[in-house]
Amino acid sequence: MTTPASAAEKATPTNGKRRRGSDRSRSEARLGWYLAGPAFVIMLLVTLYPILQALWDSLFSLRLTALDETEFIWFRNYQVVLGDPAFWQSLWVTVLITVITVAVELVLGFILAMVMHRAATQLRGIVRTAILVPYGIVTVVSAFAWFYAFDINSGGYINNWFSWLPGITEDLNWFAAQGTSMFVIIASEIWKTTPFISLLLLSGLAQVPGELEEAARVDGATGAQVLRRVILPNMKAAIMVAVLFRALEAFRIFDNVYIMTNGANNTEVLSLLAYNTSIGRLEIGLGSAISVLLFLCVLIIAFIAIKGFKVDLAGTRGDT
């Protein structure tokens, strides 16, 4: 089997003639673009125009209710944003939420995936159906469910149930302090999105060759050894994809924070800061600058993941 992908990468756009089996590979390339083109074009159209517009807007002092005072100010918006503790505070909160949720979800998700993978047939269906429910639920709905359960002003019952735990009294107002608010936000995020990770991990788990596992067991390996030597290495791609996607999604967290605290008590995340600035305050210039910075952050995370951890979905046939 050949590795045409790496060969093609080395070729420059104009020297197609030098490629081997030219007719066949040319028709393959054409088919490739026929198949992939429409999706590619749509994705570009829906995002490229708006982000370029946002990039352009971020260079202006632009307020929607005072359009005649619009002024080109180069990078002053970025200067204001980057020089403001509020930006760094919300960046920190966002990073914290991302790291905690992804770490906890990876462990929980793997356990769930193992449960789904190993459970007896009768139970398997029940477990899978159950965990798909949080995944499918609308984030806004889940945010309301968690909020109503905890909020003492909405008749939350959590305090009554858990008052035997140290630190929880009947009078604990979860949404009055940063730590407790973050706890509920993170818990709801974990509840909602762990199934996503576990589904991706499960699909990875299904790819682990059963014979290898069996062979290892026959050789006398313990469960932990099988996990470390056979299962995890074979699942590396699935794990990295799951982590990458979840991390980037968690970084954009918006709905639950918007509904539960709306940023009170230093729980403001980057998306909310951008939303409040450009949509709440109608300061399009400043808001676009935050949006662009937010976008840069996710690009950096993606870049680190792809380059540093070699998450590579583009690998083609014969790369294993």
Binding site: L31, T129, L313
Partner: protein
């Protein structure tokens, strides 16, 4: 799994119960809230002290104060999510096949674009999109939401399917190609049956993502012509603007959760066969 001891069996039942509690608890919680009376809402109890259908009447019954708001938004959510799912999955299947299977320049570019699009902060696209949609007449219409929803559903569909297609034993396809089939014929005859379970899984993911959207829904609509349910929830109100519509929101939450449960029940089996006995083990 035939030779399971009683101990193991009990262990599995316990695990199942724990998973069930964890997964369903918040849903049951808001279900209980939806049956509480105005007074019961502030009882601090899990179960409603008094059961009532009043909250459901508010959003569903003719003459209910939130009915005009809720029913059209439910129709919008279902229609818009379904269409954007179908479009995304069809396009993504072709795209992912090409990426996983064919050799052509630019597939890295496509995947990088998909990743960039999928992680795009929705909040930052919304304002420019709003202006564009207004000027070309897509504001407050179904296509006006379906198109941006594609930016949410397409990338993840492409990545998931590309990952999935990579695991398929392509020897079958190569065998077909050796037999003289064109790449497309090979794709249709040898790959589609193997890929179908993965496509279904992807469809579920895409549908849930579209169904879940909040920011686009709230920013690109202004009437019940296109407003989806998550956005409509913030329009609910009590008897006056200061009263929290807790009961009505909970009831609406349950109503939009029912289709999810149905979809999950229908597709669960597909996922089981798709992910566990699919191409690889076969």
């Amino acid at each position: 799994m035939g030779g399971m001891s009683t101990k193991q069996r009990i262990g599995w039942v316990v695990i199942t119960v724990v998973v069930l509690l964890w997964s369903l608890f918040p849903v049951v919680s808001i279900l209980m809230t939806s049956f509480k009376t105005q007074a019961g809402l502030f009882s601090g109890k899990f179960l409603p002290p008094e059961w009532t259908w009043e909250n459901y009447a508010t959003i569903l019954a003719p003459g209910g104060s939130a009915q005009d708001l809720f029913l059209p938004s439910l129709r919008n959510s279902i229609g818009i999510s379904l269409i954007s799912t179908v479009v995304a999955v069809v396009l993504a299947t072709f795209c992912a096949y090409a990426i996983a299977r064919l050799d052509f320049r630019g597939k890295k570019l496509i995947l990088t674009t998909a990743l960039a699009v999928s992680v795009f902060p929705v909040v930052s696209i919304v304002t420019p999109l709003f202006n564009l949609w207004r000027s070309i007449g897509l504001y407050d219409t179904w296509p006006g939401l379906i198109i941006p929803y594609l930016s949410l559903t397409l990338p993840i569909s492409i990545w998931t399917l590309a990952a999935f297609f990579r695991q398929i034993p392509w020897e079958l396809e190569q065998a077909a190609q050796v037999d003289g089939a064109t790449p497309f014929q090979a794709f249709r005859k040898a790959v589609v049956p193997l890929a179908a379970p993965g496509v279904f899984t992807t469809a579920i993911i895409a549908f849930f993502i579209a169904w879940n959207d909040f920011v686009y829904g709230i920013s690109l609509t202004s009437t019940s012509a296109a407003r989806p349910v998550p956005a409509a929830l913030s329009f609910f109100t009590g008897a006056s603007q200061f009263e929290e519509p807790t009961g009505a929101i909970s009831a609406a939450a349950i109503v939009v959760t029912v289709p999810i449960v149905i979809v999950v029940l229908i597709f669960q089996r597909r996922i089981v066969s798709g992910l566990t006995q699919g191409a690889v083990k076969g």
